[in-house]
Amino acid sequence: MKIFGLDLQQYETENKPNLRVRDELETVTVPTKGGYGSSLSPSVEIGDRVEAGEIIARNDDSISTPALASLAGEIIEIVELDGYHEETGDKFDAKVQGIKIKVSPEQSIKGSGIEWEKEKPKNLRELLYLAGLTSFGQTGVPTEFNSSLFSPAKVEHLLVNGVRTEPFVHHLVDFSEEFASYKTGLEILARTFPKSQIHFVMDEKTQENLKELSSSQRIKVHSAKNESYMSKSKMLARKILGREKLDEGGYLLDHGLLALPEIFPLATYRAVVEGVPYIRRRISLSGPATEDSIIETPIGAPVKYAIGEDVKDNVDALTIKGSPLSGQKLEDSEMPVSKDMGSLVQLTKPQGSQFLAWLQPGLRKNSYTNAFFSALAPHKKKVADSGLHGEERPCVYCGWCSDVCPVDILPFQILKTHEHEMIDEVNRLQPQRCVDCGLCSYVCPSKLPLSDTVKSAKQEQSDESHNYVKYEENEKGLISVITEEEKGRGEESE
């Protein structure tokens, strides 16, 4: 509860979502790209039989991670996935192929675990690559293969982001039941990147329930305060690396930090200890238009199927990939579930026009200002919909966007200078600090596209700013140039 400040924890939502496994499928369409990396050409042909977990697309020459069959069956079609957009904003071509598999009735996963304590880090990294796990993170997980722009030696800090503070986004890991495996996963990661410091960050709320996890020499446990922007890895990176470094811009790994999602240690545990590659995805489903749940489904299942019939009857809903503050609209619900689809939020659309909305008391309307009666009842649960709640107007310089900004930038100034293409002025305002939290657009009373503008200003600037890594384009795709010297460094510690 906050009287002064932005409280986004007060929306009506269920606290404990149910886990629902959805795997009765006839076909799955596995995308050849998921997360960071170029899209691949299939290495299988129509009519081939594949096992669950078998590699069906791989190219060790381009920056990529193999695509795996998520269920056993027969390849029946190779399709172009039009409009299959990724949120990574990387440089790779958006054209992605999908490999359609007719699922056979009997399913089994071959493969067995290994004794990871004795394994060389290099072999563990190879295992992650073959398990399809290396496309996570901002620029992929570095291995001896071309899975990232960077080499494994570059990883000085490894950050596992277990912070879930944005509204309508649940934890994907049930820490009360899966804690032992999760902890082992973190230990495996510590061995996989022997020269790096592992940081595990959780939100305060989760930390209370996770008292038994304490910092060790290799694994440092941090807690982040309950602010929506703390769920951004870049924000956590600023705390761990210091802000001056990140204000320079560039990728996180330019500064030696590999940030990975919450699910990664668990997936690592599955791949290494149980021998199950990354072929199933967990998705948090939440929002007023649906029932809160954690869905577990094979990668490549249509999103529509994964969600199921859970959109409440007669509700016009908007489905968002990612969080409602920084995610993207899901345009086509037939699209397959991708490797990096972490959460879906279904918000109801506003129901027609509202009579004198600006005069209503607004007892359950959330606002940064205290101009609604909800300010007098801070504990009352707030309503949420996808409405703009107003119309676009010229900026009145209220300054709220810069007040809420966690990284001290002036979004309205960036908007003004960007709209007049004053490039030097835009760059001076340091848009590269932005962590994409979306709060500036959230609070704007003039409903201006602030966060979008800052994002594009950042994008335009970024081409110049990360010259740390050399990459070049050839006929095989985008290739990073890693010197032999750098490749060797990862092995020193054994």
């Binding site: 002064f4 908007l318 940064y368 200002t369 409405g387 709640h389 107003g390």
Partner: protein, 360 residues
């Protein structure tokens, strides 16, 4: 309610194609959007948005100033209300006319200017003068710069300064003595008891101070809205708590008036009035709460707001003490409005460094 909405949209679709009536389509659309908030979804991220919007933002100021406006009726009779109505009507026509000619959207900023302007006028200002002032304020103070959000000066103060310079007698030589007790002004249309000076004027001429209690409660001659420092302060605190205005500007403005008048009283005892008198007399409280805090014409960065407030205080005390005008709030706010972008620029240079021009 659906019927009304449908009717409005039918009228607007009819006028759209009409050879002459098409000019008022914008007006009808504006009325419709004021009455019925269109339930549109956010098109880009974030999809969750704050419920605050410009109409409510502006309306909050009107709510905050309402007690002072009601008090002006209590003190000066229903003529005060007539002044507010004239201001809204004349200013509204100027605003709508200008935006129609310029083919721009009608915005809500006028909601605030329309009520603040009459409250900073002397209570016996002729109604036609109110109309002239608000029209000048809206057009020369705001619309010529591009409308709400683009103005350099506070539009209400532009109108006020125009009247002060053009009609100096009406604006500064005759003041009314407010009514008190019982129903006071609620029972009559206007007040006739005339006096020659406000407390600040009396101090400038004779060096005598009005009692602080009267100044605080409002039993003193002055402009319509500024009589009662108590009600103005209450409205300002409401706005600060509601976060509509930033607390830094009023706090630094009033604080610096207090400090510099204390200092000035020590150095020039005959010219500078004591701090508490300065705070409560004249338009300072009103200016600090409603005029200096206008987000468009004041600085936007926090640091610049402090600087702005301090400069405002120094200017106000200086004008009150050393110029021919007994009151200096209006001039100091207008002058500092000019410096607001400069202060912001200085803060940005300190925070982010100077602009680098690689291709110069």
């Amino acid at each position: 309610m659906n019927k009304l909405e449908r009717l409005l949209s039918e009228i607007s679709s009819y006028t759209e194609d009409h050879p002459y009536l098409r000019y008022i389509t914008e007006v009808i659309d504006t009325i419709r959007s004021i009455v019925f908030e269109p339930g549109v979804s956010a098109e880009e991220s974030p999809f969750l948005r704050d419920y605050i919007e410009i109409k409510r933002y502006m309306f909050a100021v009107v709510v905050a100033v309402a007690p002072a406006a009601l008090a002006s009726i209590y003190f000066y009779g229903w003529r005060a209300l007539a002044m507010i109505v004239v201001s809204y009507v004349a200013g509204g026509i100027a605003e709508v006319g200008f935006t129609l000619i310029r083919k721009e959207e009608i915005t809500e900023g006028f909601l605030v200017t329309g009520i603040l302007f009459p409250l900073i006028l002397p209570p016996n200002t002729p109604l036609w003068m109110v109309a002239v002032g608000i029209i000048i304020g809206v057009i020369l103070g705001k619309e010529v710069f591009g409308g709400t959000g683009y103005n350099i000066f506070n539009p209400a103060l532009v109108g006020r300064v125009f009247l002060t310079i053009t009609f100096p007698v009406a604006m500064s030589s005759e003041w009314l003595i407010p009514l008190t007790g019982g129903w006071a002004g609620f029972n009559q249309f206007s007040v006739d008891t005339v006096t020659s000076a406000t407390p600040l004027g009396v101090f400038a001429n004779a060096g005598t101070l009005a009692p602080l209690r009267e100044l605080f409660l409002g039993n003193i001659p002055g402009c319509l809205g500024e009589s009662s420092a108590l009600l103005v302060l209450a409205g300002g605190i409401f706005l600060m708590l509601a976060r509509i205005i930033d607390w830094r500007v009023p706090v630094s403005y009033l604080g610096s008036v207090f400090l510099f008048s204390a200092l000035g009283m020590y150095l020039w005892p005959n010219q500078v009035a004591p701090p508490l008198f300065q705070l409560l007399a004249g338009g300072l409280m009103f200016g600090a709460m409603y005029m200096a805090t206008d987000p468009v014409s004041s600085p936007t960065t926090k640091e610049a707001k402090w600087v702005y407030g301090v400069f405002l205080g120094v200017m106000t005390v200086s004008i009150r003490a050393f110029s021919g005008y007994p009151e200096g709030v209006m001039f100091s706010i207008l002058l500092m409005n000019m410096f607001a972008p400069l202060f912001d620029e200085m803060v940005m240079t300190l925070r982010y460094g100077p602009i680098e021009k690689p291709y110069k």
